[in-house]
């Protein structure tokens, strides 16, 4: 995902990507672990900034915990920025990046991204229910919830990418959507576990149904798109494999993993990845609103559909977040108040299930290619399954399992304190989502779609995505998730 701005002459280092995965695990675990300390009564992260729906911007920002109220909203924002700057700067050093350039660019990225979030929380944009409108004295509002700030952040990034390309270039050192979303997904494990602990039978049922996503993405989507790319558009095998993987499985990670497995030149999957990001942005801007309009009475179908249709981790999981807030807003306006977290958990489950098999699929393709198509001394080896496995998923599973154990296997006191600790970690999940949305926007230069010759690549994507990926995804989601609603909030 973060590869759009990369010059295609630069070889992508698989090693660096793996490091980014492990970094995401470490940062996510540090945040999760620090939040857990609050269970003992010592609040390490209570200074994190939160934003409420507002009409007076002076009232918008606050520290998460009352114990840090003395900081004020502005102070909490500064401390949050400083903490993220330190942690992320240390991280990019290990990736070999220029820390000074990163720090300067990150300052601008954080300012614009969080500024977008604050704008999105303005009551005329965010207020949802008649009660909220009455509370703020509004005659109307866009009813986007405060998570409409994700859309504002994405649009801010798009404006910069398409109208201020030099500024976008200047920001690129801190435009790392893959890193940001992987950290967010690791942290998300805690929220998903707390949500699941309340209704274990429903959660386990959803997990079983996630298996359908694997079959759909790897065995059906991939085969059809590969055929379309090869037969209808005449692309070579080297182009068709990353293209089919990018469109059908999981965007950038899959395109690069399978491209490497068949020994494609590094520039090929990178170019494909740039296309994936642009289309993912279009989907994030459209699909959540379609889901709100047509699927608000089937929230879990909507969550699964977003996970199946949007082809990057960042855009899909973040799109699930927007879809949840939009559908919950619509349901609330109709007097139905669902427990939060279930729609996003469904999207995340579907996406994680798909991600898990990237390494195995890459090995299968690598085996076929190196033994039957491009025979040579460089044969695919089983160890590549592990090498290409997206490691951040281990972080998600660890946080999920740990939180689930604390919720149902530890003392009642810990179980009672856990949701607040997970909520504290969730503040950072939201911030990393915001950074992801903004970064995806900055990487999405739509002019690339109009560039001569790349139109053919885009045409494969367009035909596949709007021709059947979206519709088959909707059908499968409907077959497996229709008729089942999230629990109602008590």
């Amino acid at each position: 995902m973060s590869d759009l701005a990369v010059n295609v002459s630069e070889p992508i280092a698989l090693k660096a990507r793996l490091n980014e995965d492990w970094l995401a695990v470490m940062i996510g675990l540090v945040i999760f672990g620090s939040a857990l300390v609050s269970i003992s009564g010592t609040d390490l992260l209570g200074w994190a900034v939160t934003t409420s729906v507002y009409t007076d911007v002076a009232q918008a920002l606050n520290p998460f915990a009352k114990a840090y109220a003395w900081l004020g909203g502005g102070g909490a924002l500064l401390v949050t920025y400083a903490a993220l700057l330190v942690v992320l700067s240390l991280s990019v050093v290990t990736l070999g990046a220029d820390v000074k350039k990163f720090a300067i660019a990150f300052t601008a990225v954080f300012a614009i991204a969080y500024g977008s979030w604050i704008i999105g929380s303005y009551a005329y944009i965010a207020a949802v229910t008649p009660a909220e409108q009455q509370k703020f004295g509004l005659a109307w509002s866009l009813k986007l919830t405060n998570e409409g700030g994700f859309i504002v952040a994405l649009l801010s990034g798009l404006v910069i990418a398409n109208f201020f390309p030099r500024f976008a270039e200047w920001l690129k050192d801190a435009i790392r959507p893959e890193l940001y979303i992987k950290i967010a997904i690791v942290i998300l494990g805690a929220t998903v576990a707390v949500t699941a602990a309340g209704r274990l039978s429903l959660a386990s049922s959803l997990l079983v149904r996630g298996a359908a996503a694997i079959v759909e993405a790897y065995l059906i989507y991939w085969a059809v798109i590969y055929y379309i790319s090869r037969k209808w558009f005449g692309f070579s095998r080297e182009w068709s494999v990353p293209l089919a993987s990018g469109i059908s499985i999981c965007g950038v990670a899959a395109a690069i993993a399978t491209g490497g497995a068949i020994r494609a030149r590094p520039a090929v999957p990178i170019l494909v990845s740039s296309l994936v990001v642009v289309f993912a942005v279009v989907e994030v801007l459209i699909l959540p609103f379609l889901a709100q309009t047509f699927l608000w009475q089937e929230p879990l179908v909507a969550g699964a559909w977003i996970g199946l249709a949007i082809k990057t981790d960042g855009a899909a999981v973040a799109g699930g977040g927007i879809t949840e807030s939009l559908i919950m807003a619509k349901a609330a306006a109709e007097g139905i108040k669902y427990q939060p977290g279930w729609i996003l958990a469904t999207t995340t489950t579907v996406k994680i299930f798909i991600d898990i098999f990237i390494g195995i699929w890459a090995f299968i393709l690598g085996y076929i290619w190196t033994n039957h198509i491009d025979k040579g001394p460089d044969k695919a080896k089983p160890v590549e399954i592990w090498q290409r496995f997206p490691k951040f998923i281990l972080g998600f599973l660890f946080v999920f399992a740990g939180s689930l154990w604390l919720a149902i296997g530890s003392t009642p006191e810990i179980a009672k304190a856990l949701p607040a600790a997970a909520g504290e970690a969730n503040i950072f999940r939201v911030i990393f989502f915001i950074l992801t949305f903004f970064s995806i926007g900055v990487l999405s230069d739509f002019r690339k779609l109009w560039q001569q010759d790349f139109g053919k690549l885009a045409a494969v994507y367009f035909v596949s995505l709007f021709g059947f990926v979206i519709w088959v995804g909707l059908l499968i989601s409907w077959l497996f998730f229709s008729g089942f609603k999230p629990p109602l909030a008590s």
Binding site: N7, V8, S9, L202, S204, V215, A223, G234
Partner: protein, 51 residues
């Protein structure tokens, strides 16, 4: 390799016919995928979501 080289390559590349092994990969994937989906749909029918 520059971006313009890649663009030229996309537009000028000769068509590679589908090899039998590619046809097998596509056919087996689709067949297995549809079969497994049918199994999962049946499971979904007989083991419905528990609330």
């Amino acid at each position: 390799m520059s971006q313009s080289d890649l663009k030229n390559e996309i537009s000028a590349a000769a068509v590679e016919p589908l090899l039998p092994v590619e046809k097998k990969l596509i056919g087996w994937s689709l067949g297995l995928g549809i079969g497994l989906l049918l199994v999962l749909i049946a499971l979904n029918h007989f083991v419905p979501i528990k609330l």
